[in-house]
């Protein structure tokens, strides 16, 4: 069954405004599709037939497909138990941690072992890690053999600012949502360039490959073994998270738009030297906020993603452009309340 991309893009504005914006929503989705299609075709041409076949098979096997099929056309989704939950997360001083491309160590609790692998279905990096892309030593998986935004390498950047205001009203994935998100985040490199993310005129009300709960979810477990988001991040209790369509800016100019922006306030998943920990090493008593613009975009008419680098404008030491933003804010002020 083919569902138009616009089905999972819904306004974060109130219902009345959303009706007025429906046309704009469809146009935005169409523009998004046009932007991602060409690079994807080029990328696919480079793949061997065997790789294409494997990718298609893995995406076909995505475990959330049945659940998502039952939800993505729902026009009047149920509300969150207990009513809406609104929250504000701010950082007004101090810097941020910016993840750099790295090989992620594979946690056996999440990825199993070579003779009993886990978490391999779906688009690689989005919901699974194909077994052939995993290093093996002494009968155990070692690391993801491709560079990803999920590893131990990072740098710091100054003057991190974050303002997130959001409301979680809609409980499940659906065709529409009453959830709301306004995000402004920025930071500066050592040369004085300012990088920023703005979000979300549109929320991902139903996920293509994993649930997004109307675009905003609160008090849930994500990533790791859950199948909700990449397993390359540890399983982490998530106080609040969102997925929406936003813009990437450098020095005040939009350099990439639209992009899927994902943010989440979670328990602390870094260890000594800022190592990305495994499930058993998470610190449940501390929190930090992750902001992600992933190097993927959804595929038109299909419930899957394909690779597409983010135009960040930030140059790595090797001269390449950082192809994603994965930024952590840790000097947080958090407020929340139930009810309208």
């Amino acid at each position: 069954m083919t569902i138009p991309l616009s089905r999972f893009l819904s306004s974060s504005r109130p219902f009345g405004q959303r009706l007025l914006r429906r046309g704009a929503s469809v146009l935005a989705a169409l523009a998004l599709v046009l932007m991602v299609w060409a690079p994807s075709a080029q990328a696919q041409e480079k793949m061997s037939e065997k790789e294409k076949q494997m990718l298609a098979q893995l995406q076909e096997m995505n475990q959330a497909d049945g659940y998502l099929e039952a939800h993505r056309d729902v026009q009047q989704p149920m509300e969150l138990l207990g009513g809406p939950l609104s929250f504000t997360i701010r950082q007004t001083s101090g810097g941020v941690f910016v993840s750099l491309p790295d090989n992620r160590t594979l946690d056996p609790d999440v990825f199993g072992a070579p003779d009993q692998p886990l978490a391999f279905t779906g688009t690689p990096g989005i919901t699974g890690v194909p077994v052939p892309m995993r290093g093996v030593s002494d009968g155990q998986f070692t690391q993801f053999e491709r560079m990803s935004p999920f590893g131990d390498k990072n740098t710091t950047m100054a003057n991190g600012n974050l303002m997130l205001q959001a409301t979680d009203r809609t409980a499940t994935d659906a065709a529409t949502t009453e959830d709301e998100v306004t995000l402004k985040a920025s930071w500066e490199d050592q040369d004085g360039n300012t990088y920023a993310i703005r979000c979300c005129e549109l929320l991902v009300s139903a996920g293509p490959e994993f649930p997004t709960f109307g675009g905003v979810v609160t008090n849930h477990i994500l990533h790791g073994f859950t199948g909700i988001g990449t397993p390359l991040m540890p399983t982490e209790y998530t106080y609040a998270a969102f997925w929406g369509m936003g813009a990437v800016l450098k020095n005040g100019e939009v350099v990439d738009k639209p992009r899927i922006v994902h943010g989440m306030l979670t328990e602390y998943v870094r260890g000594e030297n800022y190592k990305l920990v495994s499930d058993s090493e998470v610190t449940p008593t501390r929190r930090h906020f992750h902001l992600m613009v992933a190097p993927f975009m959804p595929v038109k008419g299909e419930h899957k993603f394909q690779p597409k680098d983010v135009a960040t404008g930030f140059e790595l030491p090797n001269g390449m452009e950082l192809p994603f933003w994965h930024v952590m804010f840790e000097n947080l002020e958090i407020e929340s309340q139930r009810g309208e």
């Binding site: 810097g95 800022y274 008593t285 000097n331």
Partner: protein, 141 residues
């Protein structure tokens, strides 16, 4: 016996407002200046989430100065009520806890240690990343 003087330059500026800022720019308050002129040890707080050096030794009555040399906000905290794990804080028996509060980049904090013993402290936002430090205080000679 508890520490006799805990002084945060950052906190002082915040609490006293413009007058304190002016004082800070012209010349630090006499108490702070006296302490600032003679710390027995200095510790840097880094972008890699460490206190460097992670262990310093001073004598009772001497002062340690911490400087946030990173772009990240840190704290210097030896208060069990602020810690979420037992390993984060260790204080000699009967010693009062201390906490710098939030230290923005380039801000400093000083603490004078009066009671001999081993003090283990941590950074609140980076407790999960095990940003710990130790001050070993020996009796005054």
């Amino acid at each position: 016996m508890s520490p006799v003087s805990t002084h945060s330059l950052a906190r002082t500026r915040w609490l006293l407002g413009p007058a304190a800022v002016l004082l800070f720019l012209v010349g630090r308050a006499p108490e702070a200046q006296a302490q600032s002129s003679s710390p027995a040890a200095t510790v840097d707080m880094t972008n890699t989430l460490s206190f460097a050096p992670d262990t310093v030794r001073v004598q009772a009555g001497e002062t340690v100065r911490w400087t946030n040399g990173s772009v990240i906000v840190h704290t210097v905290t030896a208060d069990p009520e602020e810690a979420t794990t037992d390993e984060s804080v260790r204080l000699p028996e009967g010693t009062a806890p201390f906490d710098s509060g939030t230290l923005d980049p380039e801000e400093r904090f000083e603490h004078t240690f009066e009671v001999p013993g081993t003090y283990r402290y941590f950074c609140i936002p980076h407790e999960g990343a095990k940003m710990y430090g130790t001050v070993i205080v020996t009796p005054a000679e």
